[in-house]
Symmetry: C2
Subunit: 111 residues, 2 copies
DNA sequence: CAGTATCCACTAAGATACTG
DNA sequence: CAGTATCTTAGTGGATACTG
């Protein structure tokens, strides 16, 4: 969202998923719509500040939708937008590649 | 290569392509094997230090192959390994997604 | 519950100069 | 040509405490 004159589509795509936890967030939201607290559990290790921050960026990029219910206690739900779903689909082959790689790493004994 | 206990394959894949210029490098090498200087031209804006660094990380991850010829003046050629080619293939849908996104951004007037 | 505010630490990356 | 060395900076992310 910031580098702007992208060299290629890949460049533009990476720009969106760049951020330590973003793909994990997108991944988590693929399975279900989530509340803030659920997300925190699904993305282990992330701090509230960073989670909020990356969620906002993702929302600004049109990847996630933020639905705020005006109740007490507060309730906010995050879900993928259509664009987000598409991104997730585009991400799938990469995930498969990474999975194979993890297996290889385990075999060749890095773990 | 560092985060190690990956949550999913996507996590592992992103770890490999993480670095400001890595996808651009991989993209450039998809079209051809390149010498250091060529790469520098194909990845506009990268400094020598960073290019070297990311190339080494990519090599350590088994994505690129570094072939050094013992001549003078020095000649080194970089190319994708089999794993690198696979990664590139896995990256293609993401590139297509990004391309669509770029088009949308241009339409809706951010440029 | 779902954040915000603050302050700190680390690292990625940039500029520049030098070398075999 | 293909790097390496050094220094500096910007930005990202982490920990913790506080709020509507």
């Amino acid at each position: 969202m910031e580098k702007q004159p992208y060299v290629c589509g890949l460049d533009a795509a990476v720009d969106v998923i760049d951020g330590k936890w973003k793909v994990l967030i997108i991944w988590a939201l693929n399975h279900q719509r989530c509340r803030f607290g659920e997300l925190k559990r699904l993305v282990p290790g992330v701090s509230e500040k960073v989670l909020t921050q990356q969620l906002r960026e993702l929302a600004a990029d049109g990847i996630v939708h933020r639905e705020s219910y005006d109740v007490v206690p507060p309730k906010v739900e995050y879900s993928l937008t259509g664009l987000g779903e598409e991104l997730n689909t585009a991400l799938r082959p990469l995930g498969a590649w990474g999975k194979r790689r993890m297996a290889t790493l385990a075999e060749t004994g890095r773990g």
